[in-house]
Symmetry: C2
Subunit: 187 residues, 2 copies
């Protein structure tokens, strides 16, 4: 079966832009010839995140107040990759900055790329790249961005899976990290 | 350990708004007293989606061109709940409208609530509520929104899990649906 055809973009105008978010509106033509105004978001940078294990097999989670949902929620360490920064480097930098933990050794065995998940493909290409890391040890005290207030928590694989199943964890980054670990036999 | 404290919102201003998207900027005060401008999205409606099985245990997927990511991607049937519409009713309506399929019988055994996933808790409370349905049969031809061009595909549980693992599927709604089914022993 042939794939649905792409739409044609005739023009694009900026509708809103600041340091954090930009909105653009496309004049698009659908495969049936209809014209349509499509509102979408323009990503500022790729998201990067790390789900990390210590030597006891426990997993490092954060609780962080997220103003977007106006509550403290479960997350994994992560943030935005810097411009031109390698995704893996960015993910490990965020891990270290937010938690003070890093893998004792960094190799293709102790840090693995799990995959990419879109925030919402209807709104734009915003996405996160998620890595897994094993053998975390504490290198430094955590150093927080002034806008971040985070507490660290070590949880068991069983607790983590039940928290995803029950809805205690609702963030797509944590859920997809758990999924990929399970499907690879690593959780 | 006490949870990170919520922030205080002193005022909110509208920055952009149309039928599809609204952006607001909050003047917030952090727990350390710092003031900050926080840009966030205002949801228009709750997302609803259904991952459905037929009597042979195959799963109904869609391929749909999503202009936000400018490609045809794997999704499950879904859309936005209508105002005041029950989430389950909305999810089954979207299933029927997009695919023509419905569960042969509708009960607490054949339609189950799986959970809720946020698009991105940093940007706002946009989220999807995901249901699972068993025993799908074709009731009508599919009826598409003019802006939707969708092809339907029946896949096996093994194919679906491998497509999530390998990154062929990158949408958070499909991935979380698979996760919840696996964690409940239904996939």
């Amino acid at each position: 079966m042939p794939d649905p055809q792409p739409w044609t973009t005739h023009s694009t105008r900026a509708a809103f832009s600041n340091k954090w978010l930009a909105v653009e509106i496309d004049d698009v033509e659908l495969p049936n010839g209809a014209r349509y105004e499509y509102t979408r978001l323009v990503p500022r940078a790729a998201g990067v995140a790390v789900i990390g294990f210590n030597e006891d097999g426990l997993i490092l989670l954060e609780r962080e107040y997220r103003h977007g949902v106006r509550q403290a929620i479960w997350q994994i360490p992560g943030g935005l990759a810097d411009p031109n920064e390698d995704l893996r480097t960015g993910a490990l930098r965020e891990l270290r900055e937010e938690t003070g933990y890093m893998p004792a050794a960094t190799s293709d065995e102790t840090v693995r790329y799990l995959g990419q998940v879109w925030d919402n493909p209807a709104f734009g290409p915003m996405h996160s790249h998620i890595f897994a890391a094993w053998g975390l040890i504490q290198l430094t005290e955590s150093r927080h961005d002034p806008a971040e207030f985070v507490t660290l928590h070590w949880v068991s694989p069983e607790w983590l899976k039940e928290a995803v199943r029950s809805g205690e964890i609702q963030d797509r980054v944590v859920i997809t990290a758990v999924t990929w670990l399970m499907l690879n036999g690593w959780l």
